[in-house]
Symmetry: D2
Subunit: 194 residues, 4 copies
């Protein structure tokens, strides 16, 4: 993948930054062959980033707003990826089929979708909620615990530096993007499965 993909892709109003995409990759344990469910697509940065790493697995991504849906398709073409299914629907109302290794949500009201999508997450799979605010994280975290997931919440700050005669972080820029909540759907021990 072009290491400058995040700089060169077309941006809608909000995108998942490279730092958060990298952290999602590392903490979800994404691997070749994984199948990922993603919503909302937005500009498609996260879906594309994950699709690249999940090959030959596939990413299925939902977006209700047509202009973003189209923008994301354009960005995927630029990135040369064909393992993404773009669906122009509100995931909250869609009938979601299949089982996924990883589910990533970057949309309003993620908590209600945990209940809905639990059936689509494989045992051992990882549910990722990305949210700019604490409130949505708290709600989703509560749902994770209800479903017996192992939950972990982190924030990630990346600062760019100037290096040279005068070395220091850049003076201003992005301070906060979103919180990252991970829920591992712990596989049940055998005796409980019968």
């Amino acid at each position: 993948m072009d290491p400058k993909f995040f700089d060169r892709a077309i941006r809608g109003p909000q995108v998942v930054l490279r730092k958060d995409a990298g952290i999602i990759a590392a903490y979800s344990g994404i691997s070749p062959g994984c199948n990922v469910l993603d919503a909302g697509t937005g500009s498609g940065f996260l879906a594309i980033f994950l699709a690249n790493l999940a090959q030959p697995g596939r990413v299925t991504t939902y977006e209700k707003r047509p202009q973003f849906h189209k923008l994301a398709i354009k960005n995927a073409k630029r990135a040369g990826l064909e393992n993404i299914e773009f669906i122009n629907k509100d995931i909250a109302r869609a009938r979601v089929r299949g089982e996924f290794d990883i589910i990533t949500l970057d949309l309003k009201g993620p908590a209600r979708l945990v209940k809905k999508l639990d059936k689509n997450l494989k045992p051992g799979g990882v549910f990722v909620v990305y949210s700019p605010n604490i409130e949505q994280i708290k709600d989703a975290h509560k749902e994770f615990l209800k479903f017996g997931y192992e939950a972990k919440m982190i924030d990630c700050t990346v600062r760019e530096w100037k290096v040279g005669i005068s070395t220091h972080p850049v003076h201003s820029g992005i301070i906060h993007t979103g919180y990252l909540l991970f829920g591992i759907k712990v596989a049940l021990p055998l005796e409980n499965k019968t």
Copy 2:
């Protein structure tokens, strides 16, 4: 890959953390089929993390200390990866062959290795230097500029949170691991290549 690999692998005294591995993946643009050169291996966390994502590409990793070399091989077996070549040599003295898409260095004195390994980095490839201190970063940055690389230096802070009735970042823990310096070996425009 097991999302808990970083928790479960055997640790030597120092390891690249999941956060830094994720950032290296995202900023280097690692993709299926990439070939990676890595040194020093240490406990093998970074080599294993990148090997998983680079399949069917390969990671070649150098480590001069035999006990780490062996530990890393064990960790790779646990992770079930076979696309890593572990070499028990000091990369500074070894004869390194082949061309790589990504080079990652986590060892003392990275600057002198930029000169040595430039010939092993493909045009458009990314050179990553991970260092706990500013001084090594400054030295390597200077080398990057000499070789015409586009350089970017960042630091990355991840904080774990407690979520519930009382929500806040954990009170103590890891503050600093290392700085991350990326150098892109810009491909020359055609007219300059003749």
Copy 3:
């Protein structure tokens, strides 16, 4: 004041750190002659720090637990300050008299005390709530808005560095202490005062 006071004073289980005390001083605009109301005293670090700067003003500080009350008195003696009144009572149940320029709260359930203590805060005065968690801050913030205060919430991170041949922040230590919420009791314009 001894620049090492914070290192040398006797510590109970939790103390306000120098960084937070400094930020409280700067954002509250504490000045010579200010009168400060403080609760809970804890080990007395904040009361002592503010009392030093507020001279010849006074600090009145409430603490319900006798052992902390006594510890704080000892620390004040060490610091050589006589402008602090230590009261061994739960401020939530005490009858608080007088008007103060600054009120600082570092205790459980600060929101309910905003209502109680508003009458003790001079117009133009500053109400400071220090809390380890977001929930208490949200509750107190809501109270501040009810009372027409101008509210500002910040967090403050201080990292210590190693400087020398290898320069970098220390690798581990304190990540989070508390959030700092400031409410300015805006003085009413003249026409509304009659």
Copy 4:
């Protein structure tokens, strides 16, 4: 002092922020009656902030650029402080007299001034160097060690938050201002003083 002084004072191109002024106050142990030497004055924010807390002590501040010198005098008048002596000279070339409890430097090349001003710092006094970059800090730190000072370097990050239905740090703003280096001029034990 008006808690909004930092918002209302007239700003030149660069000012010491409230957060850094608060940290300097806390780590230097400034107290009523302290005498402070400060350079360069800049817009005068730090001199004014410290002068307010040091009363009835005095702040002597040097600034070589006439327009800043005048601006700072204006800001001090607004703040209603009369215990500041503004000197329109380059401190590097001036003949500095008197002994001070605290010296604060916010100018280029602080290291060379440590040597010059050591004689103006009382035993037990605190030398503060504020610098945007690591290089100046390293140089000044080396000087501190030469003079037997106890040195401590920190950075301080303050983030403002939005609090309400959606609670989170503001998305962008100031990331880095400067590093803060403190040197305590340890008082010699008696036997070495003769």
